[in-house]
């Protein structure tokens, strides 16, 4: 597992109910749909990672060996979020219209780093009169910290064979 030491303790994280994770994921999607990027970033624990391998990559893709689209540590993710808020982020200025559907939420396991949660998604992005569709599955490692669910790692797998015609991942898919 790629999860860093963020928030790790010796004990195995105790899973919450699926409904708890569903609520969390729907809320996360809403923050992104509404471009509330700072609040979205606040879901991540310090030291967390965010990765998007190339379209069609397997779940065990490793950003130390393979070329991804995105492989952010916490520092770079912070800058990605800051960039999302800038007018000089030309690709997302004016902001594209985005909407996310989350489904097939499953609790996949738990270890010391957190609870593994998976879901599928369809994200629609509309900009410059062009509609792009991104579909795939997310893999999270989540931890409950002081009563709130936080992200230790988020990996987004695009179940596409290429980024044609989407062209870019300048949003958080």
């Amino acid at each position: 597992m790629n999860a860093p030491a963020a928030g790790a303790s010796a004990a195995i994280e105790k899973p919450l109910s699926r409904a708890d994770y569903e609520d969390f994921l729907y809320n996360e999607a809403a923050l992104l749909d509404e471009w509330r990027m700072d609040e979205w970033f606040a879901l991540f624990l310090e030291g967390a990672i965010y990765e998007v391998p190339c379209a069609g990559a397997p779940d065990n893709a490793d950003s130390s060996e393979d070329l991804f689209y995105i492989s952010d540590n916490y520092f770079r993710l912070g800058h990605r979020v800051a960039r999302m808020n800038k007018e000089s982020h030309h690709s997302e200025f004016p902001h594209s219209s985005v909407t996310r559907m989350i489904g097939n939420v499953r609790v996949l396991g738990a270890d010391q780093s957190g609870v593994s949660v998976g879901c599928t998604f369809v994200t629609h992005r509309s900009k410059n009169d062009v509609l792009s569709v991104y579909c795939g599955h997310h893999r999270y490692v989540l931890r409950a910290v002081e009563g709130r669910i936080r992200i230790v790692s988020k990996r987004t797998f695009l179940d596409l064979n290429s980024l044609r015609p989407q062209g870019r991942v300048s949003i958080i898919v």
Partner: protein, 428 residues
């Protein structure tokens, strides 16, 4: 003054560039980016006649390895036969045309078409037993049932190219002074270079020539990529300014390169404090090995300087904070498919490979801090060209009268356009 005036009724292929060296004015007609007939002519005169990048030797490292790839709009197989000899075939069955190999890569001693089952050795030879009477006795005596070979396949320092024109000049002559840049890139590592992992396959709703320009455009960096430089200055803990001292190389044949020093770290081999002391020792070792192999002066150029290179017509090799190889092909005047790869040093440590990939991703590719903004710029330009009747010309004059060009000039693009225009406008 030469060139097509906007109000003249255009003879279809009247000159599309205006190149006034006395006045220092260079312009490109915007119809060059939107006209269907221009694209048809490009297919004929450029993509069917120039050497086109096919792949890197590391992608077919072992005997019987293959990759399939679309090059110049055609589906190809690039493979090694049992003896390790490289081949390039059209990936189309001689029977009735289906792709004979549909996987992106693999290892195979033969290819079998799934449609009616024709099979071929990996040297292209037809290898199917037919019942007597199905075909004439001497069927395939003319080779009609073998895979069709691409007219020319040649490599230089591990970079393989194809040419669809049997009469084409040699790759060596074609590459001209661009060989010097390929030498520099190939010399990064003692055991050679390799493609690292996946291909980034994406598309841009813009004319392909805009990506040539953009990939070697030192002028746009500060404006288009402001958010990247915001990030970089924090990542390196200091000001992230591009060096004022830079070079522009006309590599002839329409190839060109810009070279200069930049604030980012380079895996080979420019350390920055943000990488930490352990990495410094590793970078020092890489640098020392490089010096012992290629000499101090050349090692300094390889390690300290970065370079953006365009090899005519559609190959970009940018050796900057990481190395990317990028090629693209127009499906329509306003749509191109792009393929991009990371090139790394063979045998580098896992930690260093990670650093190389991090460097790549901070700037390059569909999720980088820079490339998406390039796409937006190209697509914005393409939309602007709809008004080509009223706003007819692009200006590419910057620095034209300067004695020594710098990378924020546009001479490197003029090198491309002069070759483009020579090929498009020559009576043939």
């Amino acid at each position: 003054m030469q060139g097509l005036h906007a109000s003249e009724s255009p003879t279809r292929f009247a000159p599309m560039i205006l190149d006034d060296r006395d006045k220092g004015i260079f312009r490109v007609a915007r119809t060059a980016f939107i006209d269907e007939d221009v694209l048809l002519r490009e297919r004929d005169r450029i993509f069917n006649r120039c050497w086109l990048y096919l792949g890197h030797e590391s992608e077919i490292a072992e005997p019987n390895d293959f990759i399939t790839r679309n090059v110049g709009g055609k589906e190809l197989i690039f493979n090694r036969d049992r003896k390790g000899e490289p081949h390039a075939f059209f990936n189309t069955c001689p029977h009735r045309g289906a792709l004979v190999e549909r996987r992106p890569k693999g290892n195979a001693i033969s290819f079998k078409c799934f449609y009616h089952g024709w099979a071929f050795n990996n040297n292209g030879a037809f290898a199917t037993r037919m019942s007597p009477g199905d075909y004439p006795e001497d069927f395939n005596s003319d080779g009609c049932a073998n895979l069709t070979r691409v007219a020319k396949l040649q490599g230089y320092r591990g970079f393989y190219f194809v040419n669809f024109d049997p009469g084409a000049m040699s790759l060596d002559d074609y590459l001209a002074d661009a060989k010097g840049i390929l030498d520099i890139v190939a010399d990064h590592g003692p055991r050679g270079m390799e493609i690292v992992g996946s291909e980034q396959k994406y598309s841009i709703r813009a004319n392909w020539k805009l990506l040539v320009e953009n990939s070697i455009d030192g002028y746009h960096a500060v404006d288009t990529h402001a958010t990247y430089f915001d990030y970089l200055s924090e990542a390196i803990g200091g000001p992230a300014a591009l060096s004022k001292r830079s070079f522009v190389w006309n590599l002839s044949g329409g190839h060109s390169s810009i070279e200069g020093e930049a604030p980012w770290g380079r895996p080979v081999a420019r350390w920055i404090p943000a990488w930490g002391e352990a990495a410094k020792a590793e970078v020092d070792d890489i640098r020392a090995e490089l010096e012992s192999r290629v000499g101090a002066e050349r090692a300094d150029r390889i390690a300290r300087m970065g370079r953006n290179t365009a090899i005519f017509p559609n190959l970009i090799i940018n050796d900057i904070m990481a190395i990317t190889i990028r090629t693209f092909y127009p499906l329509e005047p306003n749509l191109m498919n792009v393929s991009a790869w990371a090139l790394g040093v063979k045998g580098e440590s896992r930690g260093f490979r990670k650093r190389r990939l991090d460097n790549f991703l901070e700037f390059l590719g569909p999720g980088g801090f820079a490339t998406p903004d390039d796409l937006e710029a190209l697509e914005a330009a393409q939309r602007g060209y709809a008004a080509h009747r009223e706003a007819a010309w692009n200006d590419i004059s910057r620095g034209m009268k300067r004695e020594r060009f710098v990378s924020t000039d546009e001479e490197q693009m003029r090198c491309f356009w002069r070759e483009w225009s020579r090929r498009m406008e020559d009576a043939q």
